[in-house]
């Protein structure tokens, strides 16, 4: 009996498989993964580079899970052809598998720019950073190395740079745009980030491209020796990491005749617009003109598709996702979301900003119609939780805009001085005793907490108001001692 066949066992594919099994224990389910290992969490690759996790510690699915849950997992087996007419997939091992529904989750691959020196593949020491294997290769190359160049100053490039700098390498990031992470950050934030990274031993070279990789012959063969910049400058490096972006992996789908733009074009039920029996999720798919490059939308798609195919929610629809990014780099707190490039010129848009470049802090929220449409929190992210939820839900914003930038501004605990406290104020919550009642006790001769407690029970519950009661008694004593005038 043919069931669901999933091509790709990365973040999107593996999530779909587990979501599907959570909802439907019986549906025949086969998953093909090009990599032989268990699926892993790509988000945690930066932890591996930084040394916080070992490569074998970032798995997403327990290896025994597939058998226990009746999933036919063909790991290390690639699909080479889709036969839509007969609804079959052909695998690299010669196997042919029928499907009723095909889920394509082939993800994307790293872009390797066509540089001189990369003609026959990358030389040793140069790695395009994308997969766990890439990560392991970078770590091998970094072993004993001194200088690293990271090509590309986007999110992934900076995470790689931070990881290598944390291992003691001297790192230079070469970036084409005028500031780092230009997709997520405005120029002001980019400058503060560059300054912060500078303190961590990472130099940024902006508005310049790499023109070639240079190599040298070593005992072990040809290996990278550095990069040449467009202005002719040479940066020597033992490790070169290419983080120049990714492109959707759609060769298989294109060959099968599915409509491709940048990704496989899908509708809100995640069906290929060319063939409703084929679904596509994650970075190989394109919805509403957008290819989503983050994990959260891919997981959202996985859950929606599982709801549709298991019929647990036949009305589930993917209608686009809100993108929130978080830099995973030790000692650099950075969260961004939505549209962050607005300045003060648009009268319909409210921009609230705080910058303290010397301390590495830059905060900005962009508001339209009392809704958050974008934000940057750099250096201190205490309000990130609040902002992400306001942004996700398009919820109306608190009237106090400062509380969007700074945690604890709103309603920080105030210590009540006995002087300012009104008589009606409750001092002892546990026994509902007011300041006035304590004052009255004092008027009747009570001079210690114990004497006040004996009459009012104040401080006999949780005991937390004992100091306050003592304060009031002392204050009353002082009032009495003070000369009247």
């Amino acid at each position: 009996m043919s069931g669901i066949v999933v091509v790709g066992n990365g973040m999107a594919g593996s999530r779909f498989v587990t979501e599907m099994r959570d909802r439907d224990r019986k549906m025949p389910l086969t998953v093909f993964g090009a990599e032989a290992q268990q699926p892993y969490n790509r988000v945690l690759l930066s932890n591996v580079l930084a040394g916080a996790s070992r490569p074998d510690q970032i798995g997403l699915v327990d290896p025994s899970w597939y058998e226990r849950h009746g999933v036919d997992a063909r790991l290390g087996v690639e699909i080479v052809r889709i036969d839509r007419e007969r609804r079959l997939v052909h695998a690299s091992d010669g196997g042919v598998t029928p499907y009723r529904t095909l889920v394509i989750a082939t993800g994307s691959t790293a872009i390797v720019p066509p540089l001189p020196g990369t003609g026959d593949g990358l030389p040793a020491g140069a790695v395009a950073f994308r997969t766990l294997d890439d990560c392991v290769r970078i770590l091998e190359a970094a072993e004993g190395a001194k200088h690293a160049v990271v090509v590309g100053g986007g999110l992934l490039g900076i995470e790689a740079a931070r990881g290598l700098a944390g291992r003691g390498l001297d790192v230079t990031v070469v970036h084409l745009a005028g500031h780092l992470m230009e997709r997520q950050l405005d120029p002001g934030a980019g400058r503060v980030l560059a300054r912060t990274l500078g303190r961590l031993g990472i130099r940024a070279r902006l508005e310049i491209s790499v023109s070639a990789l240079r190599t040298e012959e070593a005992a072990s063969g040809t290996r990278v020796s550095g990069v040449e910049l467009a202005n002719g400058e040479f940066l020597s490096a033992d490790v070169v990491v290419l983080a120049c972006g990714v492109r959707p992996d759609v060769a298989l789908a294109r060959e099968a005749g599915l409509e491709i733009d940048r990704g496989i074009v899908v509708d809100e039920m995640l069906r290929s617009v060319s063939d409703p029996s084929v679904r596509a999720i994650g970075e190989c798919s394109q919805y509403g003109g957008t290819v989503y490059g983050l994990v959260a939308p891919a997981w959202e798609q996985a859950a929606i598709l599982a709801d549709l195919l298991a019929e647990t929610d036949v009305d589930a629809r993917f209608t686009g996702a809100r993108e929130i990014t978080r830099l995973k780099a030790a000692s650099v707190e950075l969260a961004t979301m939505g549209e962050t490039h607005h300045g003060d010129e648009d009268p319909d848009v409210e921009v609230v900003r705080f910058a303290d470049p010397a301390r590495g802090t830059y905060k900005k929220v962009v508001i339209k119609d009392d809704r958050l449409i974008g934000a940057i929190l750099l250096g201190e992210t205490g309000t990130a939780g609040t902002l992400t939820q306001l942004y996700d839900r398009a919820a109306p914003l608190p009237s106090d805009r400062l509380s969007l930038l700074f945690p604890g501004i709103n309603g920080a605990p105030v210590s009540d001085s006995p002087v300012r406290m009104p008589d009606a104020a409750t001092v002892c919550q546990c026994n509902n005793v007011s300041k006035g009642q304590i004052r009255a006790c004092w008027e009747h001769g009570a001079r210690t907490v114990e004497e006040v407690a004996a009459r009012t029970r104040a401080s006999t519950g949780c005991g937390g108001c004992r100091d306050a009661v003592e304060g009031i008694v002392c204050w009353l004593d002082e009032q009495e001692a003070a000369p009247t005038g």
């Binding site: 707190e333 309603g411 949780c462």
Partner: protein, 709 residues
């Protein structure tokens, strides 16, 4: 108001020679002496739980004994629609026995349901379970403890093989390195408990509180995490993810004393910090700080309470926190581990001795043949006559009067018309019964609907044992005589058993019932066999399990091994799915419910005590000023709060201590302000706990606000 007009309470007179006993309310079971004329209470210094402290509920507990509408005669309705009128005990008990016989003959034994409470003594809880099984021979018995801590119980059994609230004596708390309290507001719900936390902080320990509100407890914390309602599980998984990344896992402990960590390690890889931040709204730096505080020593303790547990995923949520505690190597160490804060006075003992639909005394499983045989021998019956498992609390209430459900209900120590989820529906189910009998000492909202009301003795008028939140068995002592015309529940059950010609013995002496309970629990997980009234008195309470009289009791049950077959604690991977009812355009606000300091549970007791009513006279809804402004609601105005299940009208209280997307209503009031008219009945698949703690509502100004202006 001038100072001289301030009301000064009279000095509470100490009652020399007052009877030492415990408070009638929560699971802290504060020690108090009761005596004098008029009767007063004074706190006891010799009970570690409160060490001389009492909250206002405790101080005023004596007033319960003389509430003006105290029932002192049975009441009965002559027929449907007739008023409740005084009758004799003979008439009342004959009527109940007659209805039982009539309905069982027509519909079978399960036509009679029994509903108990977590405030009943061990003796009464035991006797009630026995009464259901061998006098009525119905499977349809459960109790309101199902609404209390059943999720923690299920998670504890799964992880440690034993469900006992705290892992050690309460005096351990003060010596902890850190305590993380999840979904509990002890500064209001059990104020003297705060003394232990304050002492811990004075010794350098850190208090972390997780609560969507900045409660009185959260204000005293070193760190307060304020997650979106229904996201605690994700938060716990996120904290475990961070603990692993920060190298805080106690690998030696995990290897030596646990099993199943690898699957959990993999499962929490999906809970990287910013994903959890997005789900919970808790900033990553705060999560990291909380993990570091917990991980810095191994005398740290994670405590959950109803806020974490009363969810359709409550068992898994507690499991996530147990996983975190296990990974950090906390359980089984003196002063550290995981614990559940019991809610009701005898929430612990109440569930150990047979009130639960699936259990027999001693925390035995009712479908275990060996357990049935043991208990049947103590009861002097054939194991065959003991019914199998019945419906859980909400399912039992929801089935009342239905074709396949009970046609009559006998209710002891509970007020489900106010306290059950979606209480409007439960009221309809109760009205659909052919017969309702209620044992209570006042005419509660549920008792008002009964056909027969039995006036029963209350805390200071009866004797027995209670098991407090520590798992320590305590003596409740009779301090005053019950009013004329009142009987104890044991006398009521004996009277009914006699009329039903039930097998077994039906003592009305608590000490004799306790001896029988000891025998019935012997060899079970909650083994009370070695506990005697004398030992409780001379030792200041005895911790269960205590299998023999020469056994010292078990203050710290996991010191050597966990109570699983292999002695190891079990990790279980769990996943976040969110509240059963999320917010949407029609119902855009989360509702959470809980307690206030001056009241207890359905308020049937505390709403009758003047100082408590003065302190907290009416229900209210806490709203953030921004949400109030958007909803057109001003401070002090009446607000209509509506969910898919009902509407309440309560006064607005504007506070900046609650999240912008959440409102809070306490659940102690009846009628228009009955919070549980709104709550969701989605049940936890393991514990059958309803999702009291989160549902979706909308807010509207009450029409009359405009008319007033």
């Amino acid at each position: 108001m001038s100072v001289s007009e301030q009301v000064i309470p009279e000095t509470p007179t100490v009652a020399p020679g007052g009877t030492p006993t415990h408070c009638p309310y929560c699971a802290l079971q504060c020690g108090m002496a009761v005596g004098g004329s008029p009767v007063r209470v004074t706190p006891r210094e010799d009970v570690p739980a409160n060490r001389g402290g009492l909250c206002q509920k405790g101080w005023t507990a004596a007033e319960l004994l003389t509430v003006p509408d105290r029932l002192t005669t049975p009441l009965m309705r002559a027929h449907l629609g007739a008023p409740l009128e005084p009758c004799t005990w003979e008439e009342a008990l004959d009527r109940i026995a007659g209805e039982v016989a009539r309905l069982q003959e027509r519909h079978g034994r399960d036509a009679i349901g029994v509903f108990g409470g977590g405030g009943l003594t061990n003796e009464k809880a035991y006797q009630l379970g026995k009464f259901a099984r061998i006098a009525l021979r119905t499977s349809q018995i459960d109790y309101n403890g199902r609404f209390c801590m059943s999720s923690a119980a299920a998670a504890l059994n799964r992880a440690f093989g034993l469900d006992r609230g705290l892992p050690g004596p309460i005096t351990d708390l003060a010596r902890a390195d850190a305590i993380m309290l999840v979904g509990g507001n002890v500064a209001e719900t059990m104020p003297p408990f705060m003394r232990h936390l304050t002492e811990m902080r004075e010794r350098g320990g850190a208090l972390v509180v997780i609560d969507p509100r900045r409660t009185a407890t959260a204000k005293q914390a070193d760190l307060h995490l304020q997650p979106a309602p229904g996201t605690d599980l994700a938060l716990a998984n996120g904290m475990l993810h961070l603990a692993i990344a920060e190298g805080l896992v106690d690998e030696d402990f995990v290897a030596a004393r646990t099993g199943g960590f690898e699957a959990v390690r993999i499962s929490v890889n999906a809970y990287w910090p910013d994903r959890v931040e997005r789900i919970t709204g808790v900033p990553v730096p705060q999560m990291r700080e909380a993990v570091r505080l917990l991980g810095r020593g191994n005398r740290s303790l994670i405590l959950t309470a109803r806020g974490a547990e009363q969810h359709a995923r409550g068992t898994d949520t507690v499991t996530a926190f147990i996983n975190l505690a296990l990974a950090l190597g906390l359980p089984g160490r003196e002063g550290g581990g995981y614990g559940c804060l019991t809610g009701q006075g005898n929430g612990q003992g109440g569930r150990e001795h047979g009130q639960k639909a699936d259990q027999l005394p001693g925390y035995r499983k009712i479908d275990d043949p060996a357990a049935r045989e043991h208990v049947a021998a103590v009861w002097g019956v054939d194991p065959e006559i003991i019914p199998g498992p019945g419906r859980s609390a909400f399912e039992l209430l929801d089935a009342l009067g239905a074709d396949d459900g009970p046609k009559a209900l006998l209710l002891f120590g509970s007020n489900p018309v106010v306290s059950a989820p979606r209480s409007g529906l439960i009221e309809e189910r109760i009205n659909a019964l052919e017969f309702l009998a209620v044992s209570d000492f006042v005419l509660s909202e549920t008792a008002r609907r009964a056909d027969v009301v039995l006036p029963t003795a209350q805390w200071a008028e009866e004797s027995g044992t209670m098991t407090n939140l520590e798992g320590r068995v305590l003596r409740r002592r009779r301090a005053v005589a019950a009013p004329d015309g009142v009987r104890t529940d044991l006398e009521i059950l004996a009277g009914l058993a006699d009329r039903l010609a039930a097998p077994g013995t039906w003592s009305t002496e608590p000490a004799e019932v306790f001896d029988e309970l000891r025998a019935a629990s012997a060899g079970g997980p909650a083994d009370y066999a070695g506990i005697t009234y004398e030992r409780i008195e001379s030792e200041g309470g005895v911790f269960w399990p205590c299998p023999s009289e020469d056994h010292p009791g078990t203050p710290r049950p996991f010191a050597e091994r966990f109570h699983t077959p292999d002695g190891r604690a079990r990790f279980t991977p769990v996943d976040h799915t969110g509240p059963a009812e999320g917010v949407d355009a029609a119902y855009p606000v989360h509702l959470i419910t809980g307690r206030v300091l001056a009241h207890y549970q359905s308020g049937a007791q505390t709403r009758r005590i003047a100082p408590l009513v003065d302190a907290s006279p009416e229900p209210f809804v806490e709203i953030h000023p921004d949400l109030a402004a958007r909803s057109g609601v001003a401070e002090g105005e009446m607000v209509r709060v509506t969910s898919r299940r009902g509407t309440v009208t309560v006064r607005a209280r504007l506070v900046d201590t609650i999240r912008h997307d959440t409102v809070f209503i306490p659940f102690h009031w009846a009628e228009e302000g009955r919070a549980n008219l709104l709550t969701n009945t989605a049940l936890d698949p393991m514990s059958r706990m309803p999702e009291f703690k989160v549902c979706a509502v909308r807010l509207e100004p009450h029409e009359e606000n405009g008319a007033d202006q």
